[in-house]
């Protein structure tokens, strides 16, 4: 049996801000249908790495391949067209729009400049049907007509993920999705991400190790702008220091 090549590959990524090296020789690969985690302490370079992988920053060296195609340095909108999508740590929702409308404005047909007034868009049954499907994926069915501003924090997080799914991506990058969520919210989000795995390849950036240990198939640890460790959750948990740390005590409970 031959293994299929990874869906997403980053090779020798290098990035600097002025004199400071922020990413040094980053190599990553994500297999189709998997959940991958990227974790690291604050200031380790997680967000910069994410921004380079998703085309927000151009690397100073190295390459990014998606489905065998070199997508290094493509503009963010071109990256989205290829089937790569991302969520943001800071939520980018339109508060005065309903949940359904928030999805509709993110769909490809609307993004591709159908310069039609918005009331026309709402009458487009194909787009609203699609948007309703996306809402269902994140468990927000029934809230189609709720204003984003009226939704709970957890629901807004789910809606934010739904917005990133509206572009029909194949791989979705989630930037600190547990940010601001309590224990219940985290558990719900973990369930949601588990269901999304059937349809999408997922990459999650998190500083919550627990959350990643529970969800991810493979985790890369970033520090000093480099990958300092990688493996399955079990492999990483086998590290002596992880076992004796607070984290280790929690995960064995």
């Amino acid at each position: 049996m031959t293994e299929s090549p990874p869906l997403f590959v980053a090779e020798h990524l290098h990035k600097r801000f002025g004199d400071q090296v922020v990413l040094e020789d980053i190599n990553l690969s994500f297999n189709a249908g998997s959940i991958s985690g990227i974790m690291g302490p604050n200031g380790a370079g997680k967000s910069t790495c994410f921004n380079v992988l998703t085309g927000m920053y151009r690397p100073d060296g190295g390459s990014v391949f998606f489905d065998g195609e070199d997508v290094t340095g493509l503009a963010p909108e071109r990256i989205v067209e290829k089937g790569i999508s991302r969520s943001f740590q800071i939520m980018n929702l339109f508060d005065e729009f309903t949940a359904l409308e928030n999805i509709m404005v993110a769909t490809n047909r609307v993004r591709h400049g159908l310069h039609r007034p918005f009331w026309d868009l709402r009458a487009d049954s194909e787009i609203s049907h699609k948007a309703a499907e996306v809402l269902a994926m994140v468990g927000l069915t029934g809230l189609e007509n709720s204003l984003a501003s009226d939704m709970s924090y957890g629901q807004r997080r789910a809606l934010e993920i739904a917005v990133s799914l509206a572009t029909e991506p194949r791989i979705v990058f989630l930037d600190e999705p547990t940010q601001g969520l309590g224990a219940d919210g985290r558990a719900n989000l973990a369930d949601l991400i588990g269901t999304l795995q059937e349809k999408f390849t997922l990459v999650i950036i998190e500083h919550d190790m627990q959350f990643l240990f529970r969800l991810a198939n493979r985790i890369s640890v970033i520090h000093w702008g480099q990958i300092i460790a990688e493996g399955t959750p079990d492999e990483l948990k086998a590290n002596e220091w992880v076992r004796t740390s607070e984290l280790g005590k929690m995960t064995t409970c």
Binding site: V21, E24, P41, A229, L236, N239
Partner: protein, 205 residues
């Protein structure tokens, strides 16, 4: 014979005060050679010159005298922005100091490497709360296995800091009042003048 990974040859750095009557405020001297890949522990009191030593090795700070050769190439003759392709200094953001550039870039050389092979870790944050410390230590060993030279500067405050240094480091440098002493193991380090005073109760753990 291949060149040593790092050769610090008769290097000195002198800081002075005063324009007409120059008064020496600090002097750092170092002369040592490390042939091969290893993990070198660096200790010393605050203000003794540890960070200055690292800056001189990575070429961000210009020595007053002597040279630093990385795999045979004088790092202070390499283009400024490319010096971290040879030696790279990892520090806290508050430690970063900027120095004026002495020569224009076109007068300088290309580095002899694409990736850094001397890694200097300046007081990495070791906390036992999370598990990151374990990943960091594994990373130092990985760099060592890959044939690189690792400097690990730790200011020991807890017994486990000493345990880490004893188990990780294959030799030690002790920097005190601008003088750099070298010891081939932890017991040798304890015999160096001033080390016991510096470590206090932690020395005999």
């Amino acid at each position: 014979m291949s060149d040593a990974l790092l050769k610090v040859a008769g290097m000195s750095k002198v800081y002075t005060q005063g324009l007409l009557k120059k008064r020496q405020t600090f002097r750092l001297e170092a002369d040592f050679e490390i042939e091969e890949s290893r993990i070198v522990g660096v200790m010393g009191p605050n203000g003794s010159g540890k960070t200055t030593l690292f800056e001189l090795i990575t070429g961000s700070n210009q020595p007053t005298g002597g040279q630093v050769f990385c795999k045979g190439q004088n790092i202070h003759k390499v283009k400024y922005r490319l010096r971290d392709r040879m030696a790279i200094h990892y520090h806290q953001s508050y430690q970063v100091r900027h120095f004026s550039k002495v020569l224009p870039s076109f007068m300088l050389e290309k580095p002899n490497s694409q990736y850094p092979y001397i890694h200097l870790f300046d007081e990495p944050q070791f906390s036992t709360q999370d598990g990151y410390i374990g990943f960091m230590l594994d990373f130092f060993k990985k760099l060592r296995r890959e044939g690189r030279l690792v400097f690990l500067c730790v200011h020991p405050q807890e017994p486990f800091h000493i345990e880490i240094m004893r188990s990780m480091c294959e030799e030690f440098l002790f920097v005190n009042a601008g003088k750099v002493s070298r010891a081939s193991d932890y017991d040798g380090l304890l015999a160096v003048d001033g080390v016991r005073d510096y470590l206090g109760k932690l020395a005999d753990i």
